[in-house]
């Protein structure tokens, strides 16, 4: 099923292997102790494991049997460093409910901090400035980031990283900017302030017009609104206070579905993806699931799908004659060939033979495959693009 909610994904995301990732259960962010020894993903040769249900299962191009052509100049540029050791602490409000923090400390820097600390512990702390602490997480050398549930929209947060001294004071090694989680509902503030901003005046011209009137920190629109209320002479007509029908904002919100807005908040990009995946699942026959039926409903139910395809490939000298399962095939100009087909349950024996262009020599190979699927109920075959049927099936 298309994955429409990030909430099903484990927020403490870096896992040690794709296999582990695939069986990860939904849980709160996990302590970094468990992954402290894991090689940083940015050092991986292969991409990080991602949302398995969203995989398209595209097979990578097969490795040709002929030597790789020389890579273009500067094709391989090395690897990014694991960290830069700048001691920056970054905090972002990912949404109204989750914060994300990363810190650019090297393994050694965190290790040193641990040793400096009387308790031997380094902490990431999240707090509301001027108020309470909401998270305290022990940070281990090698860890880099954390996803933190806060579930507090429209609230200011800050992060700090450091350790406690003997006297109980906190020694800061890094501190983040203050960040605000976004609102998750309409503002209770119903104040209505109108302003006229003529489109044919540039912002620069408007700022010049009121340069002497604008107050420190006051935005252009705010200043214009204030001056217009005061009847300040401006070289363009502006509207007097406009009357908004009483209760209009509530009626508009109701018209838009009230609280439903939150449930149907699916961006067009996601709609594209949903559309694409649904089409795949329905064998190119369907349409996207109703936005109003709620991506938090059925789409998040547990599911599994598996399938297999088979790619046979190889090469010989150009001009040779090659048969696959008794049928002569065309070689590419460089003498290579490949077959890509579905691989359903069954037993397959595929003889492949090549004879030299002059017919003097022969080589042959027999490839045998067995696929047996034994699945628990509720496992569906992954949809595949239309592919040729397999050859050499014997059972």
């Amino acid at each position: 099923m298309p994955k429409t909610s990030q909430k099903t994904k484990k927020p403490a995301a870096k896992k040690s292997s794709p296999a582990k990732k695939a069986v990860a259960k939904k849980s709160a962010p996990r302590k970094k102790t468990e992954i402290a020894s894991v090689v940083s993903p940015r050092l991986r040769e292969s991409p990080l494991p991602v949302d398995q249900s969203a995989h398209k299962f595209v097979l990578q191009p097969f490795a040709p049997s002929t030597p790789e052509p020389e890579l273009p100049a500067y094709e391989y540029l090395g690897e990014l460093p694991e960290s830069y050791g700048t001691r920056r602490l970054f905090l972002a409000a990912r949404d109204p409910r989750w914060l994300y923090a990363y810190w650019d400390f090297s393994w050694q820097q965190l290790r040193d901090a641990e040793q400096e600390s009387p308790e031997g512990k380094v902490f990431l702390q999240i707090y509301i400035p001027g108020a309470e602490r909401v998270h305290q997480i022990q940070v281990f050398p090698g860890s880099r980031e954390w996803y933190l549930p806060v579930h507090r929209p429209a609230t200011l947060f800050q992060a700090e990283l450091g350790y406690y001294r003997h006297d109980g004071s906190f020694h800061r090694l890094g501190v983040s900017d203050e960040i605000l989680t976004p609102r998750d509902d309409p503002s209770p503030n119903r104040e209505v302030e109108f302003v006229t901003i003529p489109f044919h005046y540039s912002f620069r011209q408007l700022l010049d017009l009121i340069r002497n009137e604008i107050r420190p920190g006051e935005g252009l629109a705010k200043a214009l609104a204030r001056l217009q209320r005061e009847g300040y002479p401006l070289p363009f007509p502006y509207a007097l206070r406009r009357v908004v029908p009483s209760g209009l904002a509530d009626r508009i919100l109701e018209y838009l579905g009230g609280d439903l807005i939150r449930r149907i908040r699916v961006g067009s990009l996601e709609i594209t993806e949903t559309l694409r995946r649904r089409l795949l699942e329905l064998g190119s026959s369907g349409i996207p699931s109703s936005l109003s039926s709620g991506p938090r409903g059925q789409d998040r139910s547990f599911s599994m799908h598996v399938n297999a395809e088979l790619v046979i490939y190889g090469g010989t000298v150009p001009g040779a004659k090659v048969t696959v399962d008794g049928r002569e095939i065309h070689l590419r100009p460089d003498g290579t060939f490949s077959y890509h087909f579905t691989f359903p349950d069954g037993r397959f024996h595929i003889p492949i033979a090549a004879s030299a262009p002059d017919g003097q020599e022969e080589r042959s190979v027999l490839l045998s495959f067995l696929r047996l699927t034994d699945a628990t109920p509720g496992v569906d075959p992954t949809r595949q693009p239309p592919l040729p049927e397999p050859i050499g099936r014997t059972a």
Partner: protein, 528 residues
């Protein structure tokens, strides 16, 4: 006077994908497919509307990377080459299907379409799609807006004002080069907004931007007219909110137009359906099958069995759907006008590539929608946001809520397990670029160093493209997105080291410039 307005907005964007180092590159196909299936059909639609004197208004973002690709001679040449190959294939298809009237007719249909594409691209527009779109802007029927320079996700660079400013200013300058005037509107990349972005827009004289519905509905204070009127941010630029109902009507299961059984099926493609040896010259050089764009089946229904596509029936469905869409907007606007007492504006933003590429009949739908709106009703008018702000210049002041149009409405698509690893590197490169600009912006010009600084800024901008994080999240083509992110960052880092050491390796720099020739006159001092 109309009772209200509808503003259709198409966001045309592709990441900058151009690989001169390889003779063919699969990911470049995104661009070639979009030309054939989206950009040329939209241009053709506008040609027809102008020719027939149909009054219409359309707003489109053409992002700087897309414009750079449209203007790139190598990609133009490769597109024409690919088109020639497809024409060769369709020639064979005419022969192969000659005894099957149904499929022969379809082959003829594609034959005509592809010839039309070649005629438009080569003869009518002389390969200049930017110029082709510009013509309609100059004619007053199309408003072209800009975007972030490389579609960078602005909220995750907010700590670095220079980086946000660079995304906006470089885009604005590029727009001037392409369209000979300043942009008045912007599609914030991924519609991602945080309070404060408007200050950078004000600097660039950008008058308005678009947000997803909740960005406006949850503004502070609560907007009295919901998403049916823009709000002015405190700095001056106006925010327009996306209408939910019209989005749903295009995409939902009950009314969703693109899933109609008579429409063309995206997945049944000759590249996968036809016998391997026959199709081999038209798929990937490594022998992997790929989409060719020749698709002979319709969606049919919820069944693996597919019936042949019938273009004329699909056209009738597109017309019916356009009529349905128009009717719903009429009812919506009548209701809103009664409630609001002023003319509502219904803003309908979509990915441009949904029209034509995913939904093959999408441009046809739009064509009918414009024609029907002009002649079959009087309730509303089509309008661009700039035109609307010209007619209606008094609005409420409010600060929108941080939001994006991605899943869940905030940052979770671009900041999650698969892609969060990129941000420490992007931020470090940003810090370094600011450091370089600060150090050198007042020094004497130095030709080689200036080139290196410019290229460093290009590499940083390209690494910031939100497309890479999006691809990592969605799980298709992931290795490519990972490699692009790393390569740009590694190139940046190498240039940074060389600039600081005053040892710019000209052959390396030349190679970078050769690979990524975007923003040719980029002013790196924007980071100072």
């Amino acid at each position: 006077m109309p009772l209200g307005y509808v503003a259709p907005i198409l966001h045309a964007h592709l990441p900058f994908v151009r690989h001169p180092e390889y003779p063919e590159f699969l990911e470049e196909d995104w661009f070639y497919e979009a030309i054939t299936e989206t950009y040329l059909p939209l241009l053709d639609m506008m040609e027809g509307l102008v020719r027939d004197g149909v009054p219409f208004r359309l707003t489109m973002s053409l992002t700087p990377p897309l414009c750079a690709m449209m203007r790139d001679p190598m990609l133009q040449e490769r597109y024409v080459h690919g088109l020639e190959k497809l024409l060769e294939l369709i020639g064979k298809e005419l022969e192969r299907t000659r005894h099957d009237p149904v499929f022969h007719e379809l082959a003829r249909f594609y034959h005509d379409r592809l010839h039309q594409c070649r005629q438009m691209f080569c003869d009518r527009y002389r390969r200049d799609l930017v110029g082709a779109f510009r013509k309609f802007q100059d004619a007053g029927v199309l408003e072209i807006i800009t975007c972030g320079a490389t579609h960078g996700f602005l909220p995750l660079m907010r700590e670095f004002p220079q980086a946000v400013r660079a995304q906006i200013q470089v885009a604005r300058n590029d727009y001037r080069n392409c369209f000979g005037r300043d942009p008045r509107g912007i599609w914030l990349p991924e519609c991602a907004y945080y309070p404060g972005v408007e200050n950078y827009l004000q600097e660039a004289e950008i008058r308005w931007f678009i947000l997803d519905a909740h960005g406006v509905l949850y503004a502070e204070p609560r907007p009295a007219y919901g998403v049916f009127a823009p709000v002015f941010t405190q700095a001056g630029p106006a925010a327009f909110g996306r209408d939910i109902e019209s989005s749903k009507q295009v995409w939902s299961a009950e009314e969703g137009y693109p899933g109609d059984g008579d429409y063309r099926d995206f997945y049944r493609d000759c590249g996968f359906d036809l016998e391997y040896d026959y199709i081999r010259p038209y798929i990937q050089p490594n022998g992997m099958r790929k989409f060719t764009g020749l698709k002979y089946y319709r969606i049919t229904g919820k069944t693996p069995h597919k019936e042949p596509y019938r273009p004329w029936v699909a056209r009738e469905r597109a017309a019916a759907h356009a009529g349905n869409f128009m009717f719903n907007r009429e009812k919506q606007i009548e209701h809103l006008r009664r409630e609001m007492g002023v003319e509502p504006i219904v803003v309908c933003p979509y990915d441009a590539e949904l029209y034509g590429h995913w939904w093959y009949e999408g441009p046809m739908f739009l064509d009918y929608l414009f024609r029907k709106t002009a002649y079959d009703q009087k309730t509303f008018e089509m309008i661009t946001p700039s035109e609307f702000l010209g007619r209606h210049n008094t609005h409420q002041i409010a600060t929108p809520s941080a939001s994006s149009w991605g899943n869940e409405g905030h940052w979770s698509v671009w900041l999650e397990g698969s892609n969060a690893w990129i941000y420490p590197h992007l931020h470090m490169a940003t810090v370094r670029m600011i450091e370089l600009a600060g150090r050198f912006h007042q020094t004497q010009p130095h030709q080689l160093r200036d080139r290196a600084l410019r290229q460093a800024a290009r590499e940083l901008l390209l690494a910031q493209s939100s497309d890479w994080a999006f691809i990592m999240k969605t799980g298709t083509m992931v290795p490519y997105a990972v490699k692009r992110t790393k390569d740009h960052l590694l190139r940046f880092n190498r240039l940074y080291d060389q600039i600081l050491a005053d040892r710019v390796d000209e052959s390396f720099l030349g190679n970078c410039e050769w690979r990524n020739p975007i923003f040719l006159d980029l002013d790196w001092r924007v980071y100072a």
